[in-house]
Every structure is written in C-alpha cells, then in structure tokens.
Symmetry: none
Subunit: 232 residues, 2 copies
DNA sequence: AAAATCCGTCACAAAACTGTCGCGCACCGT
DNA sequence: ACGGTGCGCGACAGTTTTGTGACGGATTTT
C-alpha cells in the first residue's frame, strides 16, 4: 500500500462526486471516481482501494450490489466500505450494514463528519491489512493465509520457497547475497551449502512462471538475487 | 474465546441497561453490565469483552475516558466500541469517533438498529462471529442449534470437531498453527499432544466428505490448517 | 449398568520437501 | 577466441511432515 491511501468514490451525482474528490484530495487521499456501480467494480479491480465510498442509489448496479461483489472478490474482501444514503429510513440502513458495509452516512453530511468516519473505519481495518498481504507487480503474498498468487492465479510453494519469496518481497529491488539469504531465510545457525539458495531460487522461479510473464527474480552475477517488479 | 460473544454494557440508566441486557441475551450474547465507567474498566479487566457498548454521559468516568483507557490497555486495544449518545450534535459524534470508538448510535434507538450495528462492527474484527449461522461455500454451521450441514445434508460432529470447525470458519482463509488451534479450541490450559489436532482435522474432514466435493480444509505444510471456501 | 460416543495417543505408511551433486551453458576479462 | 568462474537445472536419496487406522480409557446416553 502506498503512502497516500486510495479512496474509491462511487457516486452518480456529478456535483457531489466533484465536491468529494476536491475535499478528499485536499485531505491527503488519492481518489478514484466512478460514475456508476459497474465503473466502481472495474476500478476496484485495477487498483485495490483502501476504502470505498459508495452511493446507495445508483443507476444499473446499486450500492448494495457493489458491496456484495467487492466482498466476494478475494482482493477486496476486507476493504472498508462506507455507504452514502439519501434516505434516513432505518430499514435501508440496516440492510446496508448487513450486506457488508462497515458504516453509512446520511446525506446531506458535512465533510468534517465524513472525514471522522473515514478515519474511524480505516483505523480499524488498516493495521490488519497492511502487514498481512504484500504485493509487488502482479505477485501477491498473503502471510496470514499462506497464499501466493500471480495475476490472481494461486501458486503453491513449499515452506522454504514461501519464506524466501516473503523475504525478497519485503525489500523489492534490493540485492541479497546468498549468505544473507541463508541467514534470513534458513536461520543463522543452520549450516547448508551456499548453492542451496540457487536451487530454491530456481524452484521458486519455476513455480512463479505464468505463461510469458517476466521472471520477477533477478540474478545479479557474483552478487546475489533480488525481487524486481519491472526494470531490466 | 467461547462461542457466545461477551458484550460489556456501560450505562448508568437502569431502565436502559436492563432493556439492553434482556435483548442482547435474547439475541444470543453474554452480557456484563457496568453502572459507571470505573465499573466498566474493572469488568473489562476480568474478562476481555468482544464488544463494548458505552454511554457517552456517565457519572465520574465518561464514555470517552472509558474508550481511551480501553484502547490504552493491550488486551482491550482492539475491542470494538460503540458509543451511546443522547445528543445528536455533530461535534460530539465526531469527537467520539476520533477518540477511538468504532461507531455511535443516537438515543433513542431501536434494538433492530443496534443489533445491525453490532453485527457490522464485529464483522470487521472477526468477519463472521456476529452471525448465528455461518456459511462458507457449501458448508453451514449453526452455532445456536449446534448443527452443521453441507449442501443441505445434515452432518453429525462431536463437540470438539464442532468447536474446531466453528473456529476455523470464523476466519476463513487464515492459517492456524496446531498450537493456536489447541489454545483456541481446547483451551490454553489443557495439555494434549500437538498431533491430536491432526487427528481431529482428519475426523472433521471425513465427516464433511460429501461425494466428490472438494475438501474445505487446507493443510499448509509446516504451518497448520485453514478453512477455505474456494481455490486450491 | 450397559451401550454408545467421544477422546487422546501411538505407530506406521504415504506424501511432500530438502540439500547436494554434477553437468552444461552463459558470461567475463584478457 | 579462450579459459575460468558463476549460474540454471535435472536427478536423487534422505529427512521431515502429515494422514490414518487401531486401541484403551473416559464420558455421556439409554
């Protein structure tokens, strides 16, 4: 997750979404604007937002439906969602909360109150999310669920390969010598041949291979290995 | 953690606290009642509650102060807090949220709305704990009726297998070590062999087997087990 | 009190993973 | 172009981890 949290706003009224964008950006957030529910789902897929503001009433795909779909997808299952609703009727609010929204706010609302709610909701979710899943390029590693996936495809790794990838992804772009990797991944007290690292890197590479995607692990001759997302 | 969540209610009006106790118990929660803020802190220390309902206005120690102190203590730092407030004024609500409360509800409120908020707030912490019946994939577990079924077919489980499945389904996708499972399902003080977990997982799997349906329990070598609904 | 369940442990088999070796190719400096 | 060093990779045998049937004792039900 980058420094500035990304907020996805799904709102069909131009006046309101512009106002929201202006104020949220001013508050230090990055903002993605969606005009309707479908848009919102597409945008959420491009970059997983850190929080979603979704209007209850929207053409085509309603706020509730958006919520449900976001919850269904693995990447966005735990993203906090705040529902914007014009009606103050209790039944609707409850339905919103039960569908999986984390909070709702009734229009019209003040920016101050919205900010407070955003802070409250994010404080709750973010710490858990921040450490748990690590992404770089198209590879994501979930340490709590012990899952690795590339472009959404699940990848099976043995324990050692998992720890190795985990360690490399902690410091993308940085080159580690085989000795450093042995210390970090195997443990300082374990004695194994240095070349063992090569073998595991090889296995890791093979496992990460998805059609023609570039190899995310870079060999630096006579230095070591590093996890790189793009450059060459 | 036991099956029924413990809710700590800090409220000085007798009429309301009695009403809350009655309804919450009726809804399947365990309830601890505190007459004032000090009481609340003492009770929270005795057994860490799963959620706290605290009145904004209370003699001696105010709701805000209770919130602050709960957040300060390690055991209760992440317990969700819902603030009960008589005033509808925005400034106060914001202050409440910023202090660390996760939500607030304005008096007078209906029990239905309160329950929805409790479920919503608890879902953030432990995604499914709030519900009486829990479903993931084609498996459903009814913690009130102690019933488990898969694809509509009733399944009989022993008490330990039931608690094990219950715990795993609380946190779908998350991997637990055998030690963690022993703590959570058997109890921290019970001494049994670690491999006992394997045996019960095995029994659970056998019980859950319905023709060719995929095994919902995933083994993560040298890490533990997790309940998974989808991928393999 | 007898019967039926349920529980924890063990031992053994199956499965998964690991470390090492050796060979051949790639790359580098000369 | 050439020798040398570094690296990728398939093979393999040993080790660790997990699945599971069996069993005696405890607990609950009938």
């Amino acid at each position: 997750m980058s420094i500035k949290p990304l907020i996805l706003v799904a709102e069909d009224e131009d006046a309101l979404s512009t106002l929201l964008e202006y104020n949220l950006v001013n508050e230090g957030y990055r903002v993605a604007i969606a005009r309707d529910g479908e848009d919102a789902l597409v945008l959420a897929r491009e970059e997983t937002p850190d929080l979603v503001l979704v209007d209850w009433m929207m053409p085509s795909v309603s706020g509730i439906e958006v919520t449900r779909q976001l919850r269904a997808r693995h990447e966005t299952a735990n993203v906090p969602i705040i529902m914007l609703t014009a009606r103050g009727e209790e039944a609707d609010r409850i339905r919103g909360l039960d569908t999986g929204a984390d909070d709702y706010i009734v229009k019209p609302f003040s920016m101050t109150e919205l900010f407070a709610r955003i802070r409250a909701v994010m404080r709750r979710i973010r710490p858990a999310l921040a450490d748990d899943v690590l992404e770089a390029g198209d590879v994501s590693i979930d340490r709590v669920g012990h899952r690795v996936s590339r472009q959404g495809v699940d990848i099976h790794l043995g324990p050692t390969e998992f720890r190795l990838l985990d360690y490399l992804m902690q410091h993308p772009g940085r080159v580690f010598s085989r000795e450093q990797l042995l210390d970090a991944v195997w443990g300082a007290d374990v004695y194994v041949e240095v070349r063992t690292v090569d073998v595991h890197v090889g296995r890791l590479r093979k496992a990460l291979k998805i059609d023609a995607r570039p190899d995310p692990i870079r060999t630096v001759r006579s230095a070591g290995y590093s996890f790189d997302t793009d450059r060459r």
